[in-house]
């Protein structure tokens, strides 16, 4: 291997005194003494979350309060760390308000010790039922506590606006019929 000898320039007199560096450092210090604070008193103060932030995955309801997830299990399939477990179930025919959806999760568990917040579940969801929202802090004392069950997921998710009302439209069409 070729050895390249780099010539080292001798320090100037000013550099040898170290004074410019000390003054420069003090200038930075005094600037921050008077500048507005950058840090937050976490957890009393919380940062503003920018749009598009990928927080804890949650399940959402539509503005009519309908459970949007139909347990198609695509998120379970796509989840890289296999954090999602779904037990699918049938909506019985006697629940007249939502029997036309036919399918809903019996159980929906997301293991937050496994979740890597990649957002693939949100991307793959055909029913727009799972969203990574602003919640970013998860803690617990046991492993079991770190698994978000269906109730917790809906509590975290709340209600989001819906653009399609796909199943409501389907119900309207069914009630209206298509007589010939």
């Amino acid at each position: 291997m070729a050895v390249i000898t780099v010539e080292r320039k001798p320090l100037t007199l000013l550099e040898r005194t170290y004074l410019p560096q000390i003054v420069g450092g003090l200038a930075t210090t005094f600037k921050h003494l008077i500048a507005p604070k950058k840090t937050l008193e976490y957890p009393e103060q919380r940062p503003a979350i920018p749009p598009g932030y990928r927080g804890v995955p949650t399940l959402v309801r539509d503005p009519n309060g309908r459970e949007k997830c139909v347990s198609c299990q695509l998120c379970e399939f796509v989840c890289p760390p296999k954090a999602i477990r779904i037990t699918p179930g049938e909506i019985s025919a006697d629940q007249t308000d939502r029997a036309h959806v036919e399918k809903a999760p019996q159980a929906f568990d997301i293991d937050m010790l496994r979740c890597i917040y990649c957002g693939l579940c949100q991307e793959v969801c055909p029913e727009e039922a799972i969203f990574l929202q602003n919640q970013y802090s998860m803690s617990g004392y046991t492993r079991a506590e770190m698994v978000n069950h269906k109730d917790k997921l809906y509590e975290l998710g709340g209600t989001l606006p819906d653009q399609h009302y796909k199943w409501d439209q389907k119900k309207t069409a069914q009630d209206h019929g298509n007589a010939h």
């Binding site: 198609c72 299990q73 399939f77 049938e90 036309h100 389907k170 019929g177 298509n178």
Partner: protein, 586 residues
């Protein structure tokens, strides 16, 4: 059904490739031979051709001939024979090959035709894929990715049709998803011979339904679910249980009868979700009975036997029992027609080491001339071939139902064949009975007779015999082990392990090998590889055979030594009894 192809071959040209195919083959099958996929919905190789889905449209033509001389016309530009292409697309399923036929499956006209058909099929198809059980194995989904538009130009309201209709005890119909291919109708009419399905109304209002007062309740109804190209017909049992893309497929054999229908076990993480047929043109075509699809439920049953004692301790107890009854004839071995060939071979070895008599429990019911044969044991012929028994077990006269056949086959199964053993027990000759998974009380022995002997029971589920047994070895079900069966055609067919067995249950082969080793004080192999070395050396019909060599479609073995035996089976699909069958009351 298509007639078996005649041997004379016809040369056709598919997408520029010449191939010789049997005369009478249609274009879809001919294209399949050159690995060209012609999409189709209504066509099914085992059903008649109706040509109503129009998805398999292809472009075809014949070499032009001079009308006067009948000589082929050569195109002066290319120097090849000139082809007269038909200006409109033709259906591939309804077009049989003819000499010199030219087919294009990738031309712009074909692509246009397929896209047009897809758009019309999707007009009234609901956006149900997220809740539809067919998603993942749906032909409409597959062809949509190839020929779908990606968005809908249809602004009108979609048709509303009945959803969640119970067509029968096991089939649920969603009419909105139906694309009117009529496969299920043809299956019911032609294969199941139970003509209950039909279309009502016209045009886009056409609806699949059962005839008034009828139900799709025959024992083959779930085959309509298998052949439905979309999610219109779904299995009520499997409905919403699991998405198919999670399920692992393992090849297995239906153990219900001696037909040995080839099956696929669909499981996820050690749990079986469904059984479906596997195509074998020599055994079951693409069908299987509904009753066989429920067998996996026994795997998770609450009455599965599991051991609390270590296996070696149990074997030591059994060895002690064998030693105390060492005189010839004091021990009787009840083999099973439900055991695999390897287990029967080891049972024979065990019986020889114990100087014991061997007998088999017979199970005889009513055959249905399709895929349920009269012999409800899957492997009686295996016992004959391996030499476990030399003559067929006697047909029992008692008629206790050996297992619940809820909603499927209601005909009683006559279990028996142990009259000689009963007599020996009564005479006080037999002191120990080793039962390989057979419920002796269901097979005709009385509780008093069982009380007079010590029973060693190898089995999967708790029953009267396991309760009365002195030593119980919990073993594995057919879904939890590897092995082979010999079906009624003397076809050696293998099944594979789909799920692990429960804790505390041991493979039958290991138990039998340990018992044999304890009885004969010589080591005995328990793995399939070494066992098959022994089997092929000792059993003439299996000479030169090994487990690994058995193809997935089975291996026919020499049946001539057993040709004169009066087997109980009547005629079924792809099977004609050689000897005169024992007449069964109907």
């Amino acid at each position: 059904m298509i007639a078996p192809p005649k041997p004379d071959l016809v040369t056709v040209n598919i997408d520029g490739r010449e191939i010789a195919v049997p005369k009478g083959t249609n274009v879809i099958e001919a294209a399949r031979l050159v690995n060209v996929d012609v999409p189709h919905y209504c066509y099914h190789p085992k059903l008649t051709i109706v040509g109503n889905c129009r998805m398999c449209l292809i472009e075809m033509g014949m070499p032009a001939v001079d009308p006067a001389t009948k000589a082929p016309i050569i195109d002066p530009v290319t120097g090849k024979p000139k082809i007269n292409w038909i200006p409109r697309p033709q259906i591939g399923c309804g077009t049989n090959v003819s000499p010199g036929l030219h087919v294009k499956t990738t031309s712009p006209m074909v692509k246009d035709a397929r896209e047009g058909v897809m758009e019309f099929l999707l007009i009234n198809h609901p956006l149900d894929c997220p809740i539809c059980d067919q998603a993942g194995e749906c032909k409409l989904q597959e062809q949509s990715t190839g020929y779908g538009r990606g968005y809908s130009r249809f602004v009108e309201q979609k048709n509303v049709k009945p959803k969640r209709t119970q067509l029968g005890p096991r089939v649920t119909l969603d009419d909105e998803r139906c694309i009117l291919c009529s496969r299920c109708i043809r299956f019911s009419k032609e294969i199941a011979k139970d003509d209950v399905l039909g279309f009502v109304d016209r045009g886009s209002y056409s609806t699949l339904t059962c005839f008034p007062g009828k139900q799709l309740a025959n024992n083959y109804s779930l085959n309509t679910v298998d052949i439905c190209p979309v999610g219109a017909l779904t299995s009520t049992d499997f409905r919403f249980k699991m998405r198919v893309w999670f399920l692992k497929q393992t090849n297995s054999i239906d153990t219900e009868t001696s037909v040995g229908a080839n099956t696929v076990v669909w499981s996820r993480e050690g749990q079986i979700y469904r059984l479906t047929p596997r195509r074998n043109d020599d055994v079951n075509d693409t069908w299987m009975p509904d009753s066989g699809r429920e067998l996996f439920k026994a795997v998770m049953a609450a009455d599965r036997l599991v051991a609390t004692t270590h296996l070696d301790a149990l074997v030591a107890q059994a060895a002690e029992l064998f030693k105390m009854n060492a005189s010839a004839g004091a021990i009787a071995v009840v083999g099973s027609g439900r055991s695999s060939v390897e287990e029967q071979f080891l049972t024979k070895k065990l019986a020889a080491a114990l100087k014991a008599s061997t007998q088999l429990v017979s199970r005889v019911g009513q055959g249905d001339q399709l895929l349920i044969s009269a012999d409800r044991n899957p492997n009686v012929r295996g016992a004959l071939v391996t030499g476990l028994i030399s003559k067929l077990p006697k047909v029992g006269d008692a008629t206790p139902l050996s297992r619940s056949t809820k909603g499927a086959v209601a005909a009683p199964i006559r279990t028996g064949g142990l009259t000689d053993l009963a007599a020996s027990i009564d005479a006080g000759k037999v002191k120990v009975v080793v039962s390989i998974g057979e419920d002796l009380i269901a097979a005709g022995l009385t509780a008093a007779q069982l009380a007079n002997v010590s029973v060693v029971y190898l089995g999967t589920h708790a029953n009267a015999t396991s309760a009365a047994a002195k030593i119980v070895f919990p073993t594995l079900s057919v879904f939890e082990k590897n092995g082979t069966f010999v079906n009624q055609q003397f076809r050696l067919q293998k099944f594979a392990k789909a799920v692990p067995g429960p804790q505390g249950a041991t493979d039958d082969l290991i138990v039998l090998a340990k018992l044999t080793a304890a009885a004969s004080s010589a080591p005995m192999a328990s793995d399939l590889g070494s066992l098959w070395t022994l089997i092929s050396a000792e059993v003439p019909a299996f000479a030169m055979t090994s487990y690994a060599q058995v193809p997935e479609t089975g291996l026919l073995i020499d049946a001539t030594p057993f040709a004169a035996l009066p087997f109980v089976e009547g005629e079924t699909l792809h099977f004609k009894p050689a000897a005169a069958a024992v007449a069964l009351d109907s």
